[in-house]
Subunit: 221 residues, 2 copies
Amino acid sequence: MRASDKAYRVLLNEIVSGDLAPGTDLGEVEQSSRIGVSRTPFREALNRLIADGLVDAQPGRGAVVASITLENVAQLYEVREGLEEQAARLAAQRRDPEIFLNLQQEFIAAKQLIESGNAGIAVFYSLNARFDDAVDASVQNEYLVSALRNVRTHMARIRRMAEHNPERLLESARETLLIIEAILDGDAALAAHATHVHLHKSQQSITAEVQEQFSQTKEVA
Amino acid sequence: MRASDKAYRVLLNEIVSGDLAPGTDLGEVEQSSRIGVSRTPFREALNRLIADGLVDAQPGRGAVVASITLENVAQLYEVREGLEEQAARLAAQRRDPEIFLNLQQEFIAAKQLIESGNAGIAVFYSLNARFDDAVDASVQNEYLVSALRNVRTHMARIRRMAEHNPERLLESARETLLIIEAILDGDAALAAHATHVHLHKSQQSITAEVQEQFSQTKEVA
DNA sequence: TTGTCTAACTTTGTATACAATCTGACCAGA
DNA sequence: TCTGGTCAGATTGTATACAAAGTTAGACAA
């Protein structure tokens, strides 16, 4: 594995997980030696993260982990609306029924998963990831898929700030099930609308929780 | 200006303009010395172009200018649909009327421009660019704008392959005018639909012309 | 003649040294 | 006291040397 890939993966993981908090200074000498690569591949990794929007480059002054604001979250959902509704439409037109029939069954069974504690919830998240993968495979559009991937990385980071209350997850599972049904029916418009609904509800929930998180950290500080 | 920026701009320009044809090998030593920077900043530029999708990295085997296929064009329009319709909706909600009133006047006058030969057509293209800028400024969403920018770069490259027949440009101007009117009315749904129509017609025209171009090059080869 | 192995060469990937730029503090002068 | 400038330190940006990996051509054997 290339050193630059290693640096990228380590940093990406630390940023998404929150180990590197927003605003953290990413000095090249310090960070590259910490990760165990030289500055050249480290800078390569840094540039990729800047392109991803996970790191902010301050020209001449170095790089810091990008901050998360409510405005950012709102903007991200606006992009998701554009990309994911289109992805849902295309998936409905091009899907392999087999795959989505399986996912349908799994999402129907998701209730037990979500109610069975943290381990089950982790499985539910990976189920959601498999749904995303199925959509990606169906749309067969590398530009769209790569844009979706980037957006999902940002979402993963934001989700880390939010409580995962089972109530919302159950709702989310039901909403996703509607999308799957539309895709299975080959109903592009319905798939897009169901996606819209899902995003709307998701945004409501996430926004409230992120807001909560912000006010908490303010209290601490 | 940083050497890596210089290398990026030079390469970007040469790729979009077609001076570097699709498939052209981009050896680091050769190209970096040609441009007049060392390999380190050159590689940085190369990585940005790879992230943009304008250069294909063949692992271990170097990098080549990305090819253009009809499939690519179709995929690009699928992404544009998602992004630009969303951008049109947001622009309609957030626009500064002043700017779009001016653009409206200019697009009304575009007929004369287009019919006045190549110089006028160049001005018409820059008018279109100003329309894009106005939309970008209105949506106030950095993620969306940066995605749009990338897509437009690809489109600029594809347009280079197409004949710009005045008939189509006149149509295009009328379609854009409809979008502007919808934005001025603050009618998000109409702006999105007008954008959809515009993209549909644009794709028809571009696809036909790119296809033509392909069959010509085949004859030559 | 064909297939395979080897070896040289070419090219990418990494480390490090060096140059340029920015930061911030301290001091001088108004 | 405040402003401006300069200087030291730290940090980013660039160049180059070195290492590693891959490709290709040629020779030799089957």
